[in-house]
Point group: C2
Chain length 355, copies 2
């Protein structure tokens, strides 16, 4: 199988460590290696480097080469601009179709944490098996809380059993729910978090794009005609200006009927905010997570994350303090999601040096 | 008259900006010039540089020369070590006695803010007049709140009127009161905050030290015998090891009976903590005081003080964030006094680089 690692995200909710020129997936926030390296190393026993492709933007491509020097240089696919996941996956599929259109490709975000790597690889084999039957396969995370920050997948009919793993048809995808709905989903036992991890045959996903996103398919065909020619970059750049931003979930998966879900319970986290970081890292006796040097009185339940400076605190409850070279962020853990809005505001004010 | 500016304090409550090697009085936290410079410039129309003496420690003496280059170099008196105000003032008096023992010396901390400089100079003239009569004169700050962080002075009998200014005998000095007592003091109209600003004849304070602190007086006499000799620094160093730390308030003023108080209302502040800084500096529309660059959502009543970095905040109420080159401090405004305890803890842990 091929693995396509999507490494073009910006990770604004982990600002100020995650930056435009050094996004989340290239950082070692909760792991020893960077998240991209972890993603790569996790699948390496299953997928050799020559079958791994990383798709990212021009700014970040050098980071990929630097962090995974043993990846063949041509296996980094450079998107002219971010257009969400459907165009990104379609572009990767074009390259893979030249190699083997009937092979399965698994699609993995570069910025997710998965604690149980061996189990995850076992599941990827199951994904490949189901994908070989023509299904568009999605991995559904077994939820452990009524999280309102994820989309949910409702399972439908049972399809088959492969070893320990049950495979279901998908009944329906839903957008991020409110708290009451999320609670209902959790209690029903029929819903999974949409992890954004997929598997399908190269031919199957291009076919599905052709059916459900015909404009994108036509644009991809224009690019394919230029692949390998001297005009490849130029054509791709021109076409990409016209490409609509759309997620593969919304654009393809919700509309297709040959969609399967495999429930997975692999210690997954999207490391979605500083509050998540605070949950993932080990706590000290005062229930704080301390990275770097800290001194404090009467400080509990807080993330004190420094890239060099001493963080000194008095009387903090459930707060986040993140200190980087040029920014210090202070906010309650419960509002860590709003960090992305701060970044939006900085963008609006054209404070490029902080983005 | 002579002016003695005491510049040997450490200002730990304004840590992390105030540091052992760069204490509060050498910083420009609430004013354009440093507090030492402001103290000097405030009295300059009244006291020429050759009659101004600055007493400080060996570490900080170069800062005095740097910040007040037009001060005669010999007018910086270097204390071998901090021993609170009584020894400090006694030492300064030794030097002044050599010049003119019957002249008045006013004693001014280098780290106080006084908004009304002209009125203050007028009061210093009143202080000098009363001091010429042999009184130990203290300036009592007209209180505007039941502050529990200051000592209080209760006025006694009316002594005399000089222009707009009433002069009273002192009935009694009191230590920092609890809230109820402070409220009672304020309501009575008979109490003033002890500002630590004094005036007396050189001979009068040395005489009072002789009566009330005879051990210190004897130690000072040992030093005086060596002044101007090659052994001056050596003798002073040896004697100073034995000198007891004691404040002039406790050691002399509370015990003497020729003590007068002049109530003053000159826009005084000791800039005693970051909470005070937040009160002194102008507020923005969200009731925040911002120094440096700040971006925030739903942040009010807070001090956001940066020495270069962007401070980014969400959901802060009445907080203090102070960012310096190597430290970031976060605490509620109401607990800003405890910063000195943090510094004490750093000292205990021998984290000298942060002191």
């Amino acid at each position: 199988m091929y693995a396509v690692i999507m490494a073009g995200g910006v990770g604004t909710r982990l600002w100020p460590r995650s930056r435009r020129n050094m996004p989340k997936q290239f950082l070692d926030i909760v792991t020893e290696n960077t998240m991209l390296q972890e993603t790569f190393l996790r699948i390496e026993p299953l997928v050799p480097p020559e079958k791994v492709f990383v798709i990212t933007n021009g700014t970040c491509a050098p980071l990929v080469w630097e962090q995974i020097p043993w990846l063949p240089r041509d296996n980094v696919i450079v998107e002219p601009a971010g257009r969400n996941t459907a165009p990104c996956i379609g572009l990767a599929a074009l390259y893979l179709r030249q190699l083997d259109p009937e092979e399965v490709m698994v699609v993995l975000p570069a910025d997710h944490l998965i604690r149980e790597a061996a189990l995850f690889r076992e599941i990827l084999r199951v994904v490949a098996t189901v994908a070989q039957d023509g299904y568009l396969v999605t991995m559904g995370i077994q939820p452990d809380s009524p999280h309102t920050g994820y989309g949910y997948i409702q399972r439908g009919d049972f399809l088959r059993q492969i070893g320990q793993h049950s495979v279901y048809k998908v009944a329906r995808f839903t957008e991020k729910p409110d708290k009451a709905t999320a609670r209902r989903f959790l209690d029903s036992g029929q819903y999974y978090w949409n992890s954004g991890m997929f598997g399908w045959k190269v031919s199957a996903i291009l076919e599905a794009i052709g059916v459900h996103l015909p404009a994108l398919h036509a644009q991809l065909m224009t690019i394919e005609a230029a692949l390998g020619s001297p005009r490849e970059r130029e054509v791709m750049g021109e076409v990409w200006q016209e490409v609509e931003s759309i997620s593969v979930d919304y654009g393809v998966m919700e509309r297709a009927d040959n969609v399967a879900v495999i429930p997975v319970d692999v210690g997954w986290s999207d490391v979605g905010s500083w509050a998540t970081v605070a949950e993932l890292l080990p706590k000290d006796a005062e229930d704080n997570v301390v990275v770097g040097e800290h001194i404090g009185f009467d400080t509990t339940g807080s993330l004190l994350y420094s890239s060099g400076r001493l963080v000194a605190t008095i009387g903090l409850r459930d707060m986040v303090v993140v200190d980087t070279g040029d920014v210090v962020l202070v906010c309650p853990r419960a509002r860590a999601q709003e960090v992305k809005d701060l970044v939006g505001e900085l963008k609006r004010r054209r404070k490029d040096e902080y983005l």
